[in-house]
């Protein structure tokens, strides 16, 4: 996971969840971020797809258990597309 993908994902999550970016870590998850409910999860999925030009399958979405996992997923999809 490169720093830049993680940072970009973190910035998107900061916007969506309304939490300062420096408070978000790879371990941030629905358990630790109060506003991360199912509707915000959908918003996060849409924002990630929009930002990185990737398409997430239902199975991918289930794996998005914390921010680190989201960033790893984005990298995997991007390198598969290359």
């Amino acid at each position: 996971m490169t720093a830049s993908t993680f940072e970009q994902v973190r910035n998107v999550a900061s916007d969506i969840f309304g939490v300062p970016a420096d408070k978000i870590t790879a371990e941030s998850s629905p358990e630790t971020v109060e506003s991360w409910d199912s509707m915000q999860h959908l918003n996060l999925v849409l924002a990630i797809e929009e930002k990185f030009g990737v398409q997430l399958e239902p199975e991918d979405i289930e794996q998005m258990k914390n921010i680190g996992a989201v960033a790893a997923l984005v990298e995997k999809l991007q390198s598969a597309a290359r």
């Binding site: 916007d15 969506i16 959908l42 924002a47 797809e49 929009e50 398409q55 239902p58 979405i61």
Partner: protein
Amino acid sequence: MSDSTSISTPADHNPSSLRAEIDRLIAEGALDLATRRLAELWRRDPASGTASFVISRLDGLLEKTPERPALTKFKLAILRSFTVEPIVPLLRAEAFAYGIDLEVHLGDFNTYVQEVLDGGSSLYRFAPNVVVLAVRTDQAAPELWRDFADLVPEAAQQAGGRVVHGYEQWIGAFRKHCQASLIIHSLERPASPSLGVLDDQSEAGQSGLIRQINRELRRIAVEFQGVYILDYDALVARHGSEHFHDERKWLTARLPIAAGYVLPMAREWMRFIVPLSGRTAKVLVVDLDNTLWGGVIGEDGMAGIKVGPEYPGAAYQALQRALLDLSRKGILLAVCSKNNLDDAMEALEKHPGMLVRAKHFAAMRVNWTDKAQNLREIAQELNVGIDALAFLDDNPFEREQVRAALPEVTVINLPKNPLEYASAVRNCAAFERLTLSAEDQQRTEMYAAQKQRSGAEQNFQSKEDFFRHLEQEAELEPVSDLTLARVAQLTQKTNQFNLTTRRYTEPQIAEMAKQPGWRISSIKVRDRFGDHGLVGVAIAHDEGEQCEVDTFLLSCRVIGRTVETALLAHLAESAALRGRKRLVGWFLPTKKNAPARDFYEQHGFERQATNGGGSLWALDLKSSTLHCPDWIKLKVSVGSRIAETTPGGKN
């Protein structure tokens, strides 16, 4: 805020440093600048994440100062058969960019029928200005969508009839309970019909029947006031069904729209919300060099500039066609260019590739002064507010300068590629209109006649001589089905000569006209130079011994030519004839209606009361000497009124 130090060019910020700057500005209390930077952020990066940021900061700003003067409050309810929650932040951010503070109420999933039919539902308690009925074919016409191949032709036809009948009933019920505007999504056709290419060989196929339902929906919408069709089928087609839809999201989250098309959906709604909220532009001010044509006329000359039927000149012709279409909708065109007047006029008058000519422009500023100052003068010359201007310029620096000095101007975000200019203009919601009056279609000619009038005025010794020379004829009549749209439009758009600035929709006007004791009069004016059309509205109601003026307004085109006196005199005389003793009315000041401030006082009214909101004036009808000026030929007709029942509402 016109200091040039606060101008930032797009290169100054990346989106995350812009976010930090916005938070710093809010913390420092520089709220106007923070508001402007928020709009800039949205313009630069209109995405889902940005929308959440913009909305959270905007809500914070609104909490500090609930009445942001530059924002129009507007309430939207969405009744839906699918997940729209992720669209809402984008919609609110986009509305904010158009100067609208949009409050959104969402109906529950697929409960739109109950919500519409139940007069006490949360929908009606929300008191929306506008309601969107966003229902997809799979929900509105399930038989036609899923099991079409099972249906015999008669059954399919009947199913289509039931769908139409259902809509007709909901719309009728909606109108009984609510006067908000209603926007109905048309039904989309399936990307892959059940029977493949066979489907298209008959009008009674799956696609054919859905098309037929859409035609019927359009017919029903026309029969009701304030009901409009959003062509969802065409929206999907424009973007391509296979891109627009996302089956994964539909099956897992009931969101049928792919991530990249959530913003286009929001923008399609805005094309209705902007005109309904009155945040439209009345004048488009265009630059010349590299905007109306390619190249610089002062350097490249007539032979060097690019405009014509071939590429690259064709891109500029496409833009010019878009401009002419706007002028046919009643939007005035004006020029603001840093150029030598002779050079500019030669190109405008003589270049063979030009479609737009000097006669299409209601005002021109071709000079070397700064553009903000020129825009102020154009607004003044055309008698419109600064917020009625839109600005089209290829130069990002000029755009930023105008945004900084005149934040209320709609600045069009022109793409770098001239091939995209025309669609940037066509897609700007500030130019959308939902109704078109005869006045709108002739506005450019009317302004040309106005220029002649101003010339004539200077040759007369006294105002009275000039008024006599004008040979004005005015026609007064009660509002009718024919004039309803224009009357409502005037209440929504008139800012300057408007005593109470009460905004009404068509259904509200129609409802008022039916109330006993209420009178809604319109006035049309003609003079020797041309026809102004319907330019004034007065709404008054009898209360005991007095007649109270609810609304009194006049289009800025005819202010100061004593038409206002004629209209007021008519109110006074007819109230006296009905045995009223007093004519009373409020003046409610706004930022813009100073031209109407002394109106009652100048016509012999006496001030009765003043409170924080305004002043109440009264005229004793027994001692009144108010009458129509003898240089205006006044015709009062009884005219037809509003139809008693709303068509289609009876079943």
